[in-house]
Symmetry: C2
Subunit: 480 residues, 2 copies
């Protein structure tokens, strides 16, 4: 039995893919990923048609996919996040079937439960041996944990490891074992791990953003949850990282030892682990190279699969154990529904990722946002697209005060007692509207549904319609 | 969602077990296991009937199971190893269906491929948190790796963690994740980890045994395989451990750096890892507490699942990568078939475990054995039961010389050129027969098949018939 083949073409042939088959990818290299594009080119060259694409996320680097959509190589996409030119192609020209925008946990559950059947999973492998033991912690493109493909490989009919760093057997420590891999192919480069930094930043320096971060941390501090065993998740945005810093200070001041921080992990989280503010990091994906290095050396910095992280179901997930999560928003509305999917100019700007999963799971889901961004109001009467249902959001923190979901009177009482600046969501909507300087012409929608915003449990939360006029910068080949 | 229940009875009710259901257990605590007995008592108390039992192995400590068989709680057993009184019960009285004696890899493959469907897997958990993250490296009964249940939990309909050491969430590092566990129950004691030493010993001190070990090592040394990257497995018997020592000396003398040692791991293997004779240990089960401690501290001492270890199939297994394995035998015959299942007194003495898996996978499968044990000839014309097919055995080493399988002329040539004492298998059979002092009366078989010896791929290798007269010491309740 030889798993090693000499080309992607040979790997594709070995996988037995047919027209209409489903192929999956992971996004641990984020905007530095080189594997999806090269595999898609090889699938196109093999003459495959009407493929269904199930990447955990898509980034601007995946722009060539627009061509594969246009020429019929790809007819359907299901992903938890999509940013970049491919989104514009989808909005402008559509796919044969509406784009399915799910969540990280929803994707894992769909694979686990057989609703999303993968014919071939292609794993960008920072290191692998010749039988497919795969490590994320070795090689020139070491990216740390490999939480997303850990789910795919358990269920895919065929698994291909694509690596640029072949190591002697046995590859130790493996994130994915050879027992879950069929084929190994060595390529010149799987991408550029420096791209995993894309989308992440340093803590906010702007005073208004820092004030929002401080208020978010203050809300956590008065919530009753900031006690020993506290668990926390935050993203890698500027306000989130500033909030993480403020939470860390509050933990240290109270001598609180948290249980874990989870999610996409950054150097900021590593600092909190090493300061013993948390006993463990539960890491589905490293958001920077500091996190990747920490995972490689620290046994308390654990890899978790996307299923362990966020999949809904009776066995539970890490997100269900979160005391608090700090989330961003492109828009938030009167019902606390959050949109991180559709821009005011009706472009796809990402999608849930773990947003809706953590909001649903966490005891305290806090959105932080400015009233206005680039002239557009971020507090609105009705979000352009529901990514995360308002029922799962507990509070929103802005520079004009904190609005608590009316369904959380106890939280409001605690915040009020602590003297935090509470305000009604209607007030924030009014103030944001007054401060806005731009109302987009492009927000008018046509009747054509081009994408579905799916809840983590699979139901349709919202239908995304194509813009009546294609936004600037969309590809010229807009014929559906 | 609360996974924690207060009793085994509640766990059984939650698992939804019905008459005829299949329950599984693992044997990492070996003869110190307390979980199987307490769960079987609870299943009996719940009034369940005709259960199918799928433990990875059974030991003398599981003697109470004879009662569950006799009273109809259990009607079928499939396991890779069975030693102790339960075997006598099965031989004397039979089960409703013949006992299925498989291999470690065969069991894993049967579970993976859906041939063995587990309704409820009960996991003896040395440590667990309240949602079922399970660690083998913590707690009073820390036993190291948990390679066997790693397979069960992936496929079982319901998974119950039974622990005597509840730790705060998150249990780190987990061998089994909460995403694979439904129910958690805390008991006073899961057994006694000191029992994992059962069946293992220290290296042989008897001069004849040491000479056999030295010859086995010499055969490996002349085989052409003892070069950088060499991989090795040996059991925990006295001759095996002495052979491991001799192989280590040969590696050091030649400055060979091996790739890995695999299998059940002992302190002897740990010593070889720490002497940098191997780059990694691939450990499906710790055979002593030194191994358990090493796994807890050394990232190159890796846990592997039983599927990764030994399951047959196109994705391969660790055993397929073995250069050499040293195995024991109760009997070996003219065709090099090995019996480690049935004693000369027609008692069940164990079964394959990983014997047939490693013989099939390894480049060089060497059996070591004395000519005679306790008066009985160990070289025979026809083994009483085929556990491991002779086609997968390369050589047998005895105190009277080395017999090479005639299907391996190149190996014989190398051994001859090196001056090793070669001898024909017929000669060894003749010499053993001459030296034997006992011929068992009890070896006569009845017409009743009570057990099947299964190949790792599932075919029936041999049928084991009940003795015509029950052996001494068998239970008196022999009515079927």
């Amino acid at each position: 039995m030889t798993k090693r083949v000499t080309s992607l073409a040979a790997a594709i042939e070995r996988a037995g893919l047919r027209d209409g088959g489903t192929v999956s990818f992971h996004h641990h290299l984020r905007n530095g990923d080189g594997v999806l594009n090269m595999v898609m080119d090889a699938l196109e060259a093999a003459g495959l048609r009407a493929l269904r694409l199930a990447p955990s996320s898509l980034f601007p680097v995946h722009a060539p996919l627009s061509r594969h959509i246009a020429n019929g190589t790809v007819s359907a996409i299901e992903t938890a996040f999509l940013a970049g030119p491919v989104g514009q192609s989808v909005m402008a020209a559509g796919l044969a079937e509406p784009l399915r925008l799910t969540t990280h946990g929803g994707r894992a559950a769909a694979i686990r439960d057989g609703h999303l059947r993968i014919d071939a999973a292609f794993i960008a492998a920072p290191a692998a041996d010749e039988v497919g033991n795969i490590a994320g912690t070795l090689g020139p493109n070491a990216c740390g944990t490999l939480g997303y493909p850990m789910v795919d490989v358990r269920h895919a009919a065929h698994v291909v490891a694509v690596t640029d760093h072949l190591v002697p057997y046995p590859c130790v420590p493996p994130a994915i074992g050879a027992e879950d891999v069929d084929t190994v192919v060595v390529v010149d480069s799987i991408g550029d791990a420096r791209g995993i930094l894309s989308g992440t930043t340093r803590p906010a320096t702007d005073p208004a953003d820092r004030a929002i971060a401080a208020q978010a941390a203050a809300l956590i501090a008065v919530s009753g949850r900031l006690v020993d065993g506290f668990s926390f998740q935050t993203g890698a945005g500027a306000i989130s990282l500033a909030a993480a810093g403020a939470v860390a200070e509050a933990m240290a001041a109270r001598d609180v030892t948290g249980s874990f921080a989870a999610g996409g992990i950054t150097g900021a989280h590593v600092g909190m682990l090493e300061a013993r503010l948390f006993r463990a990091l539960l890491d589905v994906q490293c958001f920077d190279l500091e996190a990747a290095a920490s995972h490689a050396r620290n046994p308390c910095h654990r890899a978790i699969s996307a299923a362990a992280y966020a999949a809904p179901g009776p066995r539970g997930a890490v997100v269900d154990r979160l005391d608090a999560v700090i989330l961003g928003a492109a828009e938030i509305d009167r019902d606390f529904n959050v949109n991180v999917t559709l821009g005011t100019d009706r472009r796809l700007i990402g999608g849930s990722g773990g947003h809706a999963d953590t909001a649903a799971g966490a005891g305290l889901a806090i959105v932080t946002t400015r009233l206005v961004a680039r002239g557009f109001a971020k507090f609105v009467d009705r979000v352009a697209c529901i990514t995360t249902p308002g029922a799962t959001i507990d509070a929103v923190v802005s520079e004009a005060g904190i609005a608590i979901n009316p369904a959380r009177p106890e939280l409001a009482e605690r915040a009020r007692a602590a003297g935090l600046p509470l305000v009604g969501i209607d007030d924030l909507i009014a103030r944001a509207g007054a401060a806005a300087t731009v109302v987009s012409e492009a927000t008018r929608a046509s009747d054509t549904t081009v994408a579905l915003s799916l809840a983590r449990t699979g139901e349709i939360l919202d239908r995304i319609r194509a813009p009546r006029h294609a936004p600037r910068g969309a590809p010229s080949s807009t014929s559906a």
